[in-house]
């Protein structure tokens, strides 16, 4: 299996929305490569015809009664927001200025 180069680690950090300093990236890239090498051991197991398990105790169709129940108030929902304005979350701009 492939290894994790510094460039690939930088790509992963971008995908995962992690701003990393160059030295931090150097350090993590080496460690990730070693971990990826270790976990590749799973490929030694012949498991072509084995079904995958996604959950320890598989359950399907867990229903509840379709009745309203109280949720958070607007005040509670906004109470811990980094910033709120006019009863809403205030967030940085989503689109560029020129748009």
């Amino acid at each position: 299996m492939s290894s994790i180069s510094r460039a690939e680690a930088a790509h992963l950090a971008r995908l995962a929305r992690l701003d990393l300093a160059p030295d931090e990236l150097d350090h993590l890239a080496g460690q990730l490569d070693a971990i990826a090498d270790f976990v590749a051991k799973v490929s030694e197991v012949a498991a072509d015809d084995i079904p995958p398990t996604s959950h320890a105790l598989p359950m399907t169709n867990v229903f509840r009664d379709d009745v309203p129940r109280p949720g958070l108030t607007q005040e509670q929902a906004l109470d811990q927001a980094p910033e709120a304005e006019d009863g809403r979350f205030r967030v940085p701009k989503i689109l560029g200025e020129e748009a």
């Binding site: 931090e24 460690q31 971990i35 398990t53 105790l57 929902a77 811990q80 980094p82 940085p92």
Partner: protein, 504 residues
């Protein structure tokens, strides 16, 4: 009296409170005093709520005075791992990204504790988002092992285990994704139980890896763990993976085990969990425990679980994959840290900066590894293959439990290692959970109980007991039997040998 109160069992404290021999307020105050005296050295707690604890204790005393019938743990103090939401205390998960966060709701575990009159003293330290085996990954500094303050108390629930071993609380709550209840119990000489997955509600438990996470009881004795287990376990409609079946009668099992008769119980020693990488003193204490089981009447055989050696690599594909998805919620928009919002930067730039600043090294490693394992082109070889190995690990358990009632192994390959030794060596750190991870993958119940001190360093060793899904009661029967037999051999519980801490 105050010092004696901190040495008592939870069950003993509850009886003394309900009989009027002491009061819940007095018990709570004794533990708050102990925290003030020793936690400067141990650092088990991230937050202590003295006023809230005393108020909760007072309410128990008032209800008892009014003649109300309360739970078997009413008035007993508890240390809550800081990964369960609490409406009246911060919930940080050991992360800077949630520093000072005040959740708007209580976790189901929190609510059940309050309903039972259990007094929550505060929130305990942990590896960031419960990811680690040493509590060194906490953004708020490490917790120290009361047996040797230069060593780790296990992780991720090192705050909970250290609070018990330093007599700051008689009960604690942990969570176990790969061993985070059992491994800290082993290295501190305490008891920790990972219930069957789905046995304890995950509502309000901040997710690490949702298909593996399980809350559970931590205590100094097996019976205390059972009493706590019965308070927190049971079906919860707020968690769709919660099991809608009766909770096994763990308290009765612990009482039965204390009679010391294990005749008819079939115990399997996992062949694969020994040899290279295991400390000699750990193996020696483990074989003492196996000998003891046989002496108590159990029929001991060796059992092979050939896929267990692949459990650790499979876990480090499945867990990071789930982590990378779960931690995506920390986006700097609705709660938690926000960095660099200067009116010029975009939401995406702010998100990147916040996550870069807010997460520690291990969180970043696991997020990136999970992103890798789930990326197209690698998915089948990594995540897909790991899920197949997960099936094979479960089948190993199924086959084993056709021959035996429980499996045993050491809980962790070594005793507590020095702080700093593995902190920047992720693979060495991951080895600490070698024996505990199979039960997380398969979802069955497992526990660690003390089985002595290693000869070479005088540090605690844990006996790991694994039971089938929903057979949690077997852990308590066997745990209690081993506990009482060792206590009579040693002349008291193992924790009697923990060094006295200097009192501030």
């Amino acid at each position: 009296m105050s010092a004696e109160l901190t040495r008592m069992t939870a069950g003993g404290l509850a009886k003394a409170i309900s009989s009027g021999e002491t009061s819940a307020v007095e018990v709570t105050q004794a533990h708050l005093d102990r925290i003030a005296a020793v936690d400067g050295q141990v650092h088990a707690f991230l937050h202590v709520d003295a006023d809230g604890a005393v108020a909760a204790a007072r309410s128990v005393d008032e209800r008892l005075a009014a003649g109300e019938e309360l739970s078997p743990l009413a008035g007993v103090p508890l240390a809550l791992k800081d990964v369960f939401t609490t409406s009246d205390m911060p919930t940080t998960c050991g992360s800077k990204i949630l520093e000072g966060w005040r959740p708007p709701y209580d976790a189901t575990v929190t609510r059940r504790l309050r309903d039972a009159g259990v007094v929550i003293l505060g929130k305990t330290n942990l590896d960031e988002f419960a990811m680690g085996s040493s509590t060194e990954n906490s953004a708020y500094g490490p917790t120290r092992n009361p047996w040797d303050l230069a060593r780790i108390p296990g992780g991720s629930g090192g705050g909970s285990s250290a609070s018990l071993a330093s007599y700051q609380a008689p009960l604690a709550i942990g969570t176990d994704t790969g061993g985070s209840i059992r491994q800290p119990a082993a290295v501190t000489g305490t008891v920790g139980v990972k219930p069957t997955y789905g046995g304890v509600s995950r509502y309000g438990l901040v997710a690490c890896a949702s298909s593996l996470d399980q809350g559970g009881p931590c205590a100094r004795t097996v019976l205390d763990a059972a009493l706590l287990h019965s308070v927190i376990a049971g079906h919860d409609p707020m968690d769709s993976t919660s099991i809608d079946k009766p909770v096994p009668d763990v308290v009765a099992a612990a009482r039965r085990g204390a009679d010391g008769d294990l005749s008819g119980v079939r115990v399997g020693v996992v062949k694969e969990f020994a040899g290279e990488g295991y400390q000699a003193g750990v193996l020696a204490r483990f074989s003492d425990a196996v000998e003891l089981l046989a002496k108590l009447g159990a029929e001991v055989v060796e059992v092979s679980c050939p896929h267990f050696e692949y459990a650790l690599p499979a876990y480090y594909l499945i867990l990071p994959s789930e982590v990378s998805s779960n931690l995506a919620r920390f986006d700097a928009m609705r709660y938690g840290l926000r960095v660099g919002d200067d009116g010029v930067r975009s939401a995406e730039e702010v998100m990147n900066l916040t996550r870069g600043k807010g997460f520690g090294a291990e969180a970043k490693r696991r997020i990136m590894l999970g992103t890798y394992a789930l990326s197209s082109g690698y998915y089948d070889a990594y995540y897909g293959q790991a899920q197949k190995v997960r099936t094979l690990v479960s089948r190993d358990f199924d086959a084993a439990f056709e021959q035996v009632d429980v499996l045993v192994s050491p809980t962790t390959p070594t005793t507590a290692f020095p702080i700093g030794e593995r902190v920047d060596d992720p693979l060495a750190m991951y080895m600490a959970d070698l024996c505990t991870i199979p039960s997380n993958l398969a979802g069955n119940a497992s526990a660690s109980v003390p089985c002595g001190l290693a000869d070479e360093d005088g540090l605690p060793v844990g006996l790991h007991v694994m039971a089938p899904v929903l057979a949690d009661d077997r852990l308590y029967r066997i745990g209690a039997a081993v506990e009482q037999a060792f206590a009579s051999a040693w002349g008291g519980p193992l924790l009697d040998q923990v060094p006295e801490l200097e009192v501030a």
